[in-house]
């Protein structure tokens, strides 16, 4: 019986560990059937075992939870928050009871009934309780010196190499099948051994990350906040020693981020953010370092507050104020500092960031802060890479082999593939693949080694280095291997293009390429991309952002113009601008275009000119310099009177005037062209359907389309929905669109709205009718 109980305990504990992530995921997506099933299976198994092993308390709890989950599975109850909390509490209690059984401790059972009651429909949400006095029985383990493990590992590698050598020698001659079988068996054992031995030293960083979802959830719930956690790069394998050392600092940093960084939902809404805070924890390898980044979108670090705190602790204010912005941020690492006013349950127990930094520095790492007040904090922990196992792609270049971390590779294409295209722009090679354009580097050229004589297609890896992507061409892709990476000597690392060295089974050392370092050595600069990416993200978030071109105008003012209106930006000679026939005109591409400007055009040798197009007309606008592409905020303060400026927008805390495209066209476009086009007024277009669908059709057909009648003009024809405003009918010919396919009767002269040809001919006929 005891054996059975031991087995039950071990199994339950194992399942619980695996389940903790599932439960949180289920809470985020209650409709996720797979997770619900996993949790259901767990309580069901526990219930089953309890009946057999005579554990009535556990049986009662699991039975109650099973009933409720069964209802959810049938769809008779929804997995709302109280229910999830109640189930979680039961699962927790099951874990506590199992530990208690194992350690032989007794657990007061008064809470059980409460937990079961909380499962009932409409029950109060339960407060999460932690029972004191309970300690997890430690898993069986022994402590070993890292030295010993290292010796074991290098002994193992020697063994693998000896095996390879042996099998190479044996392969040469005629060998006895029995020897071959023995060697085969040896090979297999050695292979398995190596994996085991490697695991003694290495661990996936997932071991560090797997506990985070639950921790984040509980911490956030305790503070009345809601936080979405996103974990990246949990496949990176690290030295166990490192993982153990990182655990406490990481937990502390994350708690800090949730407690101090991410605001309450109300404050977030007021600040125009999503109610759910976002927390991203990622691990990646870069050069000879592992970088763990913790990014939140909270309020960032308030350096003013920090300084006030320190001054209150008796520090010299003037000195602190005089520090650089970076140094001010670093004040967060000052001992005895909690940047929150009240000490909360979660963090701020006197353990400050100073301890975090000290423990990271102890393992030779460092902490970088990047705070954007109001927008969030990015904290990067850099730890040196002593040893890591990574999954790598082996490429051949110039007769040599190099490894590239698979994590960095987005995809691999050949230069013969149809979907790609390689151009040379200004001496640099550029690869286009499915609408993306990126710099192309040739590994041989970067490393200054001769290309191998090799006729086949080159293999191009698209690598992502965090701030951007680029393509790296190698002669061939050879293999896909798990490699044990060790740091290389300073003489090798100082080249800046290697991340470490490894000894594959071939017995010939191989270098791991540092993709970020290669980009750096090759002089790639992704800072522009970064801005663009940020813009894109903003655009997704704001959904209403219009891209615009920011430029320096001739009068020195910064202005913006919607990007859609700009056909292109061109540089022209000052001499091609003439004041002719009452206005400035510029000659571009053998055409004369009206030139608008605000400021002095004369006396410049060269001019930058925006070519603005609205489909029919083209107007040029002289500027000093195009600066950047930005996203216009939704809010725009309109100008007080019509003129060249439509309004003012706030861009990066700077007031930027927005050029009024309509005004520019109205004022500067050549009249003749405009007047020739008959004016079509779209009326009664409540849902905007006509403006978006019919307008392009009309414009291509040579009409000028407006939805509001310009002052003093009469429409040549009015296009309206069925409910036409009566007052327009006698001023201009009217064409009505109907949404039904069939006409209402013989007297119905409306046009079905998808009938293009019918619409155009009706417009023409009606206008001609007016002429008669």
């Amino acid at each position: 019986m005891d054996d059975l109980i031991q087995e039950f305990i071990a199994e339950t504990r194992e399942t619980l560990e695996a389940l903790s992530g599932e439960i949180v995921a289920w809470e985020a997506h209650p409709e996720d059937r797979a997770r619900l099933d996993a949790i259901f299976r767990f309580v069901h198994t526990v219930k089953g075992s309890c009946g057999f092993l005579d554990l009535p308390r556990l049986g009662r709890l699991s039975h109650a939870a099973e009933d409720v989950l069964a209802q959810v599975r049938e769809g008779t109850r929804a997995a709302d928050r109280p229910l999830v909390n109640a189930v979680l509490a039961v699962v927790d209690r099951i874990g506590e009871l199992v530990e208690a059984i194992e350690s032989g401790a007794s657990l007061p059972d008064h809470g059980d009934e409460l937990l079961i009651a909380a499962l009932a429909e409409g029950a109060e949400e339960i407060a999460q309780t932690n029972l004191p006095g309970l300690h997890r029985a430690p898993a069986r383990s022994v402590r070993l010196g890292v030295d010993l493990l290292d010796r074991m590992m290098s002994g193992m590698s020697d063994m693998v190499l000896a095996r390879n050598e042996l099998s190479r020698r044996l392969r040469g001659g005629d060998i006895d099948p029995t020897i071959e079988a023995a060697l085969e068996r040896l090979s297999l054992t050695v292979g398995e051994m190596r994996d085991t031995v490697t695991r003694t030293r290495m661990q996936k960083i997932d071991a560090l990350f797997s506990a985070l979802p639950r921790m984040v959830r509980d911490t956030a719930a305790g503070l009345g906040k809601s936080v979405l956690l996103h974990v990246e790069g949990s496949d990176v394998e690290l030295d166990r020693e490192m993982i153990e050392m990182m655990r406490d600092p990481l937990v502390h940093i994350i708690r800090n981020a949730i407690d101090h960084g991410i605001e309450r939902p109300i404050e977030r809404r007021a600040a125009g953010k999503r109610e759910n805070g976002r927390l991203v924890v990622s691990a990646r390898q870069s050069g000879n370092q592992i970088i763990i980044e913790i990014t939140d979108d909270g309020r960032g670090i308030d350096t003013d507050k920090l300084i006030r705190k320190l001054v209150a602790n008796g520090r010299d204010e003037a000195k602190l104020r005089g520090l650089s912005e970076r140094a001010k941020l670093d004040l967060v690492f000052e001992p005895g500092l909690t940047s929150k006013d009240e000490v909360s349950e979660v963090s701020g127990r006197g353990v400050g960031m100073d301890i975090v930094r000290a423990s990271i520095e102890q393992i030779g790492g460092r902490v970088d802060l990047d705070s954007q007040p109001g927008k969030g904090l990015r904290l990067a922990i850099h730890v040196p890479l002593t040893l890591s196992i990574i999954s790598a792609i082996v490429v051949g270049a110039g007769g040599q082999r190099f490894a590239i971390s698979r994590q960095a590779i987005e995809e691999i294409v050949t230069d013969h593939a149809d979907a790609i295209r390689i151009d040379t722009i200004g001496g640099a090679q550029v690869l286009s693949v499915r609408g993306r354009r990126m710099p192309l580097l040739n590994l041989c050229e970067v490393l200054q080694i001769p290309r191998a004589a090799h006729d086949g297609p080159r293999m191009i890896s698209i690598v992502n280095i965090g701030e951007g992507s680029y393509a790296l061409a190698a002669d061939m892709v050879l293999d896909n291997e798990e490699l044990v990476i060790k740091p290389a000597s300073p003489a090798v690392m100082s080249t800046g293009v290697y991340a470490g060295q490894t000894l594959p089974d071939s017995g010939l050392p191989m270098l791991l390429l540092d993709c970020a370092g290669i980009a750096h050595v090759a002089g790639l600069n992704f800072s522009r991309d970064e801005e663009q990416v940020e813009d894109e993200e903003d655009a997704v978030e704001a959904e209403a952002g219009i891209p615009a071109l920011l430029f320096e105008d001739l009068d020195g003012v910064r202005r913006a113009v919607p990007l859609a209106a700009v056909d292109r930006v061109e540089q022209v000679e000052g001499s091609s601008v003439r004041f002719a026939a009452g206005r400035h005109r510029v000659t571009i591409d053998g055409r004369i275009l009206p030139l608008a400007a605000q400021g002095k055009i004369e006396g410049r040798e060269r001019l930058n000119v925006l070519r603005l197009k609205d489909g029919v007309n083209e107007v040029s606008y002289a500027i000093d310099e195009a600066l950047d592409i930005i996203t216009l905020p939704e809010e725009l303060v309109p100008a007080r009177e019509p003129g060249p400026i439509a309004g003012v927008a706030l861009i990066d805390d700077e007031q930027v005037e927005l050029l009024d495209i309509l005004w520019v066209f109205d004022e500067h476009a050549d009249r003749e062209a405009v007047d020739a086009a008959p004016l079509c007024l779209i009326a009664g277009d409540r849902d905007g359907w006509m403006a978006s669908f019919v307008r392009p059709l009309l414009e291509t057909a040579g009409y000028r389309v407006v939805t509001q009648l310009p002052q003093g003009e009469l429409p040549a024809v009015v296009l309206s929905t069925e409910a036409a405003p009566a007052e327009l009918a006698d001023k201009a010919p009217l064409v009505r669109l109907r949404s039904r396919r069939a006409a209402a009767g013989a007297g119905d002269d409306s046009v079905y709205r998808y009938d293009r040809a019918g619409l155009l001919s009706a417009l023409e006929a009606r206008m001609a009718g007016k002429g008669r």
Binding site: G155, D158, I449, A488, A491, Y498, L508, V521
Partner: protein, 142 residues
């Protein structure tokens, strides 16, 4: 003070190497090139399960590196193993380290590595510090 020294041939000259700095003497197998590294780095070689950085001793001493030497002295500097190529190994024997005679001016690279002299049968041999020949490390010293 008498100490054990290795007497090796580098570029036709005999040098003495403190045996405390020497882990082993081996013949290097195939060497993996390290593109972009300084010319003092011949490449990487495997020594059983260990990867060592092979240092072209000739080049590190500012001499032409025409040698095809395969024999190397393995040393351990700051957590990394290096194999310093030598043309030949003559002897291992205890010697007394003597200061360099006043006024003897060595070539720059030799000067950086030189620690003194030992006398073998009346012939003075320059005692060198291997760590000073390790690229990267020696750069840090200067």
């Amino acid at each position: 003070m008498t100490h054990l020294y290795l007497i090796a041939q580098v570029a036709g000259r005999a040098v003495a190497i403190d045996s405390d700095q020497v882990e082993s003497v081996v013949d290097i197998g195939e060497v993996t090139q390290v593109p972009l590294a300084s010319k003092h780095v011949r490449g990487l070689a495997a020594l059983r399960s260990r990867v060592v950085t092979v240092v072209d001793t000739h080049s590190a001493l500012g001499l032409d590196s025409a040698s095809q030497a395969r024999r190397a002295v393995i040393t351990h500097v700051e957590g990394h193993h290096y194999a310093l190529l030598v043309d030949a190994l003559d002897d291992v024997a205890p010697f007394d380290l003597l200061p360099l005679a006043g006024g003897v001016a060595l070539d720059t690279a030799w000067q950086r590595a030189g620690r003194g002299i030992v006398e073998r049968d009346g012939e003075p041999i320059l005692a060198i510090d291997l760590a000073a020949l390790v690229p990267g490390y020696s750069a840090a010293l200067n």
